[in-house]
């Protein structure tokens, strides 16, 4: 097994200690950071994602793998920053104002990071203005919003309205999700996309980023 394959394999097995150790090893061997990221860490998560999509494994296994991947990222991040290697996209996520549920949002964030995105997680109870302002300041291309209450769903529309008002629609794209949210609701408020679960949200965000 090649050095990068060992990294990927440890991610797949959900072994943070081994991922960290193998990542350090390939860094010492002089493998470029971008290659380690793509050929080791993301490659491992891609296998996990594929297995998850066909229901061979379930979310707890994906999350174990994600934790392992993070251990590798901790080793790699300083080198990626040093070399100015950009992520595949920057996404601001948060649970919308008035809502404190953040499990679904957390899962989306974890899986986006696993797919190679840079994620700015604003937490829960996030005001529309803060969502938009952060996306602008951070140069994010996507805002991901989650709501678990019918009473807070309309606040998502406020984010879309703010983006339009500031001429940012089309530049910063929006994806919405959460138990009471639907594709029809996303269209109704003018959001760019709807993600029905965390795995689907990653595919949709990839698609959104690819569109720009």
């Amino acid at each position: 097994m090649g050095a990068l394959a060992k990294v990927a394999d440890a991610v797949i097995r959900g072994d943070p200690a081994q991922v960290a150790a193998f990542t350090r090893e390939v860094i010492r061997d002089g493998v470029p950071p971008k290659e380690i990221l793509d050929g080791g860490l993301i490659a491992g998560m891609t296998v996990i994602g594929d297995r998850f999509r066909v229901h061979e494994i379930f979310l707890p296994d994906v999350l174990l793998a994600a934790k392992a991947m993070y251990a590798g990222m901790d080793e790699l991040r300083p080198l990626l920053v040093r070399d100015g290697i950009p992520s595949i996209g920057k996404v601001v996520i948060g649970t919308i104002q008035g809502d404190l549920h953040d499990i679904g949002k957390n899962l989306v964030g974890i899986m986006l990071k696993g797919a190679g995105f840079e994620v700015i997680d604003l937490g829960h109870d996030v005001a529309p203005e803060r969502m938009v302002q952060t996306a602008v300041e951070q140069g994010a291309s996507v805002i991901g919003m989650s709501a678990l209450l019918t009473t807070t769903m309309p606040v998502m529309g406020e984010v879309v309205r703010l983006l339009r008002e500031r001429g940012l629609a089309g530049e910063i794209l929006t994806i919405v999700g959460g138990a009471p949210v639907s594709d029809a609701f996303a269209r109704e408020i003018g959001a760019d996309a709807y993600g029905f679960d965390a795995g689907n949200a990653v595919d949709v965000v990839k698609d959104l980023v690819g569109r720009r």
């Binding site: 097995r13 959900g14 229901h55 494994i57 379930f58 979310l59 707890p60 296994d61 999350l63 174990l64 994600a66 934790k67 993070y70 008035g98 809502d99 404190l100 549920h101 499990i103 957390n106 899962l107 974890i110 209450l149 019918t150 009473t151 807070t152 639907s182 679960d197």
Partner: protein, 239 residues
């Protein structure tokens, strides 16, 4: 009658199949060898962190209609509106696991124990429902003590946010029940804090009043479909 219900953390026995279902694991499948230990770990954290408590208050049909109508946002037709008029006894209830379990979930996420956080969160949600079941049983026991003897009687709970009862109905429910006495508060957006809490009405009457066909306007869009399993359980209990 308005009372505080006391429970022990040891009373919490979340149904494993229900937890797995919440985790997105289909019936027949299970946790993998690697993730199985998370279940016991989560159960340990739940037992240590949960402080289950409840509030329960009798309510008349007329009073309940005022609570149920809430802010006028319910579906025009709904099962609870149809059922409550046939109720022999009604109560409002709220139960909570307390804040520490939600804090434990957040802590696990912060420490990058994502899988454990996810399992614990699912288990806590099921446990909160289980405490609501216990409240339902306590109300049924109280009614029997008071002499309620309806042949083929059944006691079932219904919550705002489901089956056409708009979640804004929580405001009047909270105003009547005052569950602040068990540490449960309602936010401006009608969210209960602590998060792992359940509230609603408990309706007692002949079993037949609880049966309804899924033909209300909102049934078509409903993805929960828990009414079907509840009605099946109701039928099985009565058979």
């Amino acid at each position: 009658m308005s009372t505080v219900l006391e429970f022990q953390a040891s009373d919490l026995v979340p149904d494993r199949d229900a937890v797995l279902e919440r985790l997105g694991i289909p019936a027949g499948a299970g946790l993998s060898e690697r993730t199985e230990p998370l279940y016991a770990a989560a159960a340990g954290i739940l037992a240590e962190s949960a402080a289950p408590a409840g509030a329960l208050a009798d309510i008349t049909i007329a009073e309940f209609r005022a609570v149920y109508d809430g802010e006028g946002r319910n579906a025009p037709r709904s099962p609870v509106a149809d059922i409550c008029v046939h109720a022999e006894h009604l109560a409002l209830f709220a139960v909570t696991l307390g804040e520490r379990t939600s804090q434990a979930v957040s802590r696990c996420f912060a420490e990058q124990d994502f899988a454990l956080a996810y399992v614990l969160d699912a288990m806590a949600s099921v446990a909160a429902d289980f405490v609501a079941d216990l409240a339902e049983r306590r109300f049924a026991a109280m009614l029997r003590e008071r002499g309620w003897k309806t042949p083929d009687g059944a006691v079932l709970r219904y919550s705002p946010g489901y089956c056409g009862w708009d979640v804004t109905g929580q405001r009047r429910l909270f105003a009547y029940l005052k569950p602040e006495r068990i540490g449960l508060v309602l936010t401006d957006s009608c969210l209960m804090k602590p998060l792992k809490s359940v509230s609603g009405s408990i309706i007692a009457g002949p079993r037949s009043i609880h049966r309804f066909p899924p033909t209300y306007d909102f049934c078509e869009r409903c993805e929960e479909r828990t009414c079907r399993s509840r009605l099946r359980a109701l039928a099985a209990a009565g058979s």
